[in-house]
């Protein structure tokens, strides 16, 4: 969808329609992440009806989670090239169709396809575009907006779990899946809310593109009025297409993004077995079923608190520059908690563990999109988020079975928890070193060129200084994000 001709190049509004976007993203998170978690409530019913054991039924959950993360880049592709609204509405329709088709399932394989693949694909088309949209609408209060949006998964699970149980009791699993399919249709409403916004950053790339030689003269006039990489342009020249796809994914070669990607891999590897094995571990050290379930509830509720409070905290001016460090602090704390877990052998010790782990888990989940936006900038945020969530998929799939194998061979949970802890701490230290290296490089470069310093001194006059600091904030972010080599130099 081409952006309107006279749409003003705005900076992120930080409010107004932005809050509707946050509400939309909140609902998207509920409909995708919370519904994925609630699918496991159906397993008992599937086991009884199809006569299969737990392992085969649990595959459904793995397939949904994996499909949602693996197809995340596809989601960002569609939302970039067509429109965010169309992408999310399409995702909502797909997911809803998947759930409705599953209500007519006659075998477990049927469920793998409809509930697993189709619904997972639908969720993938919605998840990363919605999150990217929030990033476009907020700058000053980005982390708070993300915190509220991401808390949807915790709050959604909390509310949806008993509701799904009630639906199963009233209508059996077929009726419950049908009604859940209807509920997921609300993703279309969220899609409608995601009004596109043309940011200054996106426009920046237009002039230099027009200066390229291989674009025919006659088309340049039209290009000035249309946005980059709209479908019409692609129809005209192949060079445009290559350039467009390259432009979208050029952040992949940025060293800071590569470091972020590797650290995300290790972090996802470390955090996923915890949720799977906390309850079995608690039961093995002698905690009762009731108390173990309580531990999981604490984890869920504190997750929500961590989402919102950490988001609000890192939006404070004093902490904003150190967002990266806040993120790696949260990941590091989670890793440390994991390392201590084998020592905690009774319920009173496991409760503070749940609190701490839950809080920092919520914290870093909120900061992933923020840190990604800091690294790649808002124009490529959608594609970058797609790649980041794609990198979550393989560790989520691989890590719990590996941890389970470790438990079986060593006979205790110590080895697997230590592995998780070290994985997360490694992820955090990797980022730390990368940032330190960049900082050293930057101070080195700044000492060579004093231009930027003198420019800042000029803007100290009263009235001007106030308006400029606002702009400087954004420029600071861009400066931090773009490395010393900005887009224009490429």
């Amino acid at each position: 969808m081409a952006s309107p001709r006279r749409a003003p190049c705005t900076s992120p509004p930080d409010g107004g329609w932005g809050w509707m976007i946050v509400a939309g993203c909140f609902l998207v998170t509920i409909c995708t992440r919370a519904v994925t978690r609630c699918i496991s409530i159906f397993f008992v019913e599937f086991q009884a009806y199809f006569g299969q054991d737990y392992a085969r039924t649990a595959w459904i959950h793995s397939i949904v989670d994996c499909a949602t993360m693996l197809c995340a880049p596809l989601g960002s592709l569609i939302s970039n090239h067509v429109s965010c609204q169309v992408g999310i509405i399409l995702g909502g329709l797909l997911a809803s169709t998947g759930l409705i088709l599953s209500s007519f399932a006659t075998s477990l394989e049927h469920l793998y396809l409809s509930l697993g693949v189709l619904t997972g694909l639908g969720f993938a088309l919605c998840y990363s575009p919605a999150i990217a949209m929030v990033g476009k609408y907020f700058n000053r209060r980005k982390a708070l907006a993300y915190g509220i949006a991401m808390s949807g998964s915790g709050i959604g699970t909390f509310i949806l779990a008993p509701v799904v149980q009630l639906l199963i009791e009233q209508f059996s699993w077929r009726g419950a899946l049908l009604i859940l399919g209807g509920f997921v249709l609300n993703l279309c409403v969220c899609g409608a809310l995601m009004r596109p916004i043309a940011l200054k950053e996106d426009r920046k790339t237009a002039p230099e593109f027009l200066e390229q030689d291989y674009v025919p003269e006659a088309q340049k006039q039209d290009l000035k009025q249309m946005s980059i990489c709209s479908p019409l342009i692609k129809a005209w020249s192949h060079e445009c297409l290559c350039y467009c796809s390259w432009k979208e994914y050029d952040f992949l070669l940025m060293p800071s993004f590569t470091v972020l990607a590797v650290s995300v891999l290790f972090m996802a590897y470390g955090c996923s077995p915890l949720f799977v094995y906390l309850v079995p571990y608690a039961l093995s050290v002698g905690v009762s079923h009731h108390q173990a379930a309580f531990l999981m509830s604490i984890l869920g509720v504190i997750d929500i608190v961590g989402n919102i409070t950490f988001g609000w905290l890192t939006d404070r001016r004093c902490l904003k520059k150190y967002r990266h460090f806040c993120y790696l602090f949260a990941v590091g704390m989670d890793g440390l908690c994991c390392l201590f877990l084998p020592v905690l052998q009774n319920f009173p010790l496991l409760v503070p563990f749940s609190f701490t782990f839950g809080y920092f888990d919520g914290a870093y989940v909120t900061l992933i999109p923020v840190v990604t936006a800091d690294v790649v900038g808002t124009s490529s945020l959608s594609s970058a988020l797609g790649v980041v969530y794609f990198l979550h998929a393989i560790p989520y799939l691989v890590s719990p079975p590996v941890a389970g194998w470790l438990v079986d061979t060593t006979g205790s949970y110590t080895a697997s928890f230590l592995l998780c802890g070290f994985s997360m701490i490694f992820s955090s230290t990797l980022l730390c070193f990368a940032r330190l290296a960049k900082k050293i490089k930057r101070t080195h470069l700044q000492s060579l060129t004093n231009d930027t310093n003198t420019k800042q001194h000029i803007w100290t006059n009263g009235a001007i200084a106030y308006s400029v600091t606002g702009e400087l904030d954004q420029k600071d972010v861009e400066f931090l994000a773009a490395d010393t080599n900005s887009y224009s130099n490429r």
Binding site: A48, Y49, E169, F171, R174, R195
Partner: protein, 340 residues
């Protein structure tokens, strides 16, 4: 099996070990006889008397113990005790679940802090029938039973009368099968699986019944194999699968577990719905989604129009302003001209 002679039974008792390996029914007959023997001796002696045990029952008890040691593999031996304390007039109860034939010892004990209460009379009863007891220790009294079929199950009570009266009741029962309180929902033309579980006790077999009016009719799955499928493996769970459901299949179903000591039933309710039932909430949600999407899109179009209108007005004003400035400028220059 009907030998009544005491001496003969004694002889039988001593021969018990050799007979063990023969058939499973042999030990049962022997124990039955022993039971009767104790009852006979009870009728010879008055139930009154505390602490003193007569030689007859004593011998039997000793034989019992021997028997238990020798044939522990066949029968389980269980002991249950109720501790009586505190308020007189109250009655304490205990439920004992038995699935296989067993030797049971039930005892009533008075808490040691009441030695001053002179217990004059101790009576063990089952219904109106009195059972001979033994005084196990100074303040506990017990009876020993061999439970081999459901006739021996029931409520056994001990009453201690003295200055105050204490009562305790033991209920011997077969394991209860849990049914489901909430109805199982399924749809027309679909199939449903109903499950009954017996947690720690393994029954010999399972039978399913459906309710027709006020009768319970057993379900024969071999006869109607295209409608009902019964699965009895593993032994402590059973699955009833009903295919091609119709409204007529609505109602109560019973799963019955057959144990050596009796039968036990669990109730399950089935409700058959048409597909219209969940379709209605789905259509309501669908309508809500369509309405909301329409509202959001209409609002977007409306606000875009408003923005465009506001921009047009702004441009118009700017143009007007420029025009007026121009005209002012011309006037001022002309006035200057005039002045000059």
């Amino acid at each position: 099996m009907t030998t009544e002679d005491a001496s003969q039974t004694q002889g039988n008792l001593t021969q018990m070990p050799t007979r063990l390996n023969e058939s499973s029914t042999e030990p049962m007959t022997t124990t039955r006889i022993v039971n009767r023997q104790t009852r006979e001796s009870i009728s010879d002696h008055s139930p009154v008397g505390h602490g003193v045990s007569t030689p007859g029952p004593d011998l039997t008890t000793q034989d019992f113990k021997q028997a238990i040691e020798e044939k522990a593999s066949n029968f389980t031996y269980v002991e249950y005790e109720i501790l009586l304390s505190g308020v007189s007039g109250t009655s304490k109860e205990k439920n004992i679940t038995l699935d296989n034939p067993a030797k049971v010892e039930l005892s009533c004990r008075l808490a040691s802090k009441y030695p001053h209460l002179n217990i004059v009379q101790v009576a063990w009863k089952r219904g109106n029938e009195t059972i001979k007891h033994i005084n196990k220790t100074e303040n506990s009294w017990s009876i020993q039973l061999t439970v081999t079929d459901e006739n021996e199950l029931g409520s056994y009570s001990c009453t201690l009368k003295g200055e105050e009266e204490f009562k305790a009741v033991f209920h011997l029962q077969v394991p209860k099968i849990e049914g489901k309180e909430k109805p199982i929902i399924s749809y027309d033309g679909d199939s449903v699986v109903m499950i009954c579980k017996s947690s720690s006790y393994t029954p010999i077999t399972w039978t399913w019944y459906l309710t027709n009016g006020s009768e319970q009719i057993a379900i024969n799955d071999s006869l109607m194999s295209d409608k009902y499928v019964i699965d009895r493996v593993p032994a402590n769970t059973t699955h009833l699968k009903i295919l091609k459901l119709t409204k007529k299949d609505d109602g109560a179903y019973w799963c019955e577990a057959v144990f050596k000591l009796g039968k036990s039933k669990g109730k399950l309710k089935l409700k058959v719905l048409t597909f219209m039932v969940p379709l209605k909430p789905f259509l309501v949600i669908l309508a809500e989604v369509i309405i909301l999407v329409a509202i959001v899109f209409l609002y977007e179009v409306y606000s875009k129009k408003k923005e465009k209108h506001a921009e047009d007005e702004k441009e118009f004003e700017q143009v007007e302003q420029l025009k007026s400035e121009e005209s002012n400028g011309v006037e001022s220059s002309s006035t200057r001209h005039r002045k000059v």
